[in-house]
Symmetry: C2
Subunit: 141 residues, 2 copies
């Protein structure tokens, strides 16, 4: 298996609401999809929005679930003060601020928001993990 992730699919309760949230946040929706599924370009991968029940059905598992999902996405920014700005932008679009931006013990700045469907996003400035001009993140080997 090549070490890469092509796509992340988020189960959502209201596809139109989720599409509006992510497109206003800066992601571009593809012309492919529509009323049943939404694809958004996310750098060199795709973010997919799919009704929660449809996703469970596609996987072939029951759709019931609750509580902590044990997974979080992260968006790293280039400058420290962008952490606060991105969290504020998401909150203005309907996200819930789960953990306000703060200086982290590991030397960066971080905070978390939950999208309208509860999917967790960390927004982080991490001086140890540089970002390339195209946004690619490289960890030390």
């Amino acid at each position: 298996m090549e070490p890469r992730i092509s796509l992340i699919t988020l189960g959502v309760a209201d596809l139109a609401r989720a599409k509006a949230f992510y497109t206003k946040l800066g992601f571009s929706a593809s012309s492919v999809g529509g009323a049943e599924i939404v694809f958004l370009q996310a750098g060199p991968m795709a973010l997919c929005l799919f009704p929660r029940e449809s996703l469970a059905c596609d996987v072939g598992v029951p759709g019931e679930g609750s509580g902590f999902r044990s997974i979080a996405l992260a968006h790293n920014v280039r400058e420290k003060d962008e952490v606060d700005a991105v969290i504020a932008e998401a909150a203005a679009l309907g996200a819930t601020v789960v953990k306000p931006a703060h200086d982290a013990t590991w030397g960066g700045r971080s905070g978390y928001f939950a999208d309208p469907d509860g999917h967790l996003w960390e927004v982080a400035w991490n001086p140890h993990f540089p970002l390339a001009a195209d946004g690619a993140l490289t960890i030390p080997p």
Copy 2:
């Protein structure tokens, strides 16, 4: 917000087991981290393994949760028969085959496995979404 995802953190029950699974699957672990957290390079982003309770604590939410997590990662392959091969490789390393590889109604081939902590991965061959030489996936605009 720039439309990209920098990192995905998976909550895990046993960090050593999760690290062994993903490194054997082809992801390279960073020298940063160790007994508390593992960072793996995943193309132009990072995949992070973190004890589930540590992740909940970092987010600041209760760690309880069960059932469908309403999210799935996907790994797209270049050739149709690679779907079966990657799922078989993951299964041999301890993954659970949730949905065997099959020809999908949308014209590709797909299947799902769950990693040792239940995180869902779709393995897909999608002729509509081309992969670049470096593995980048581009969706139609």
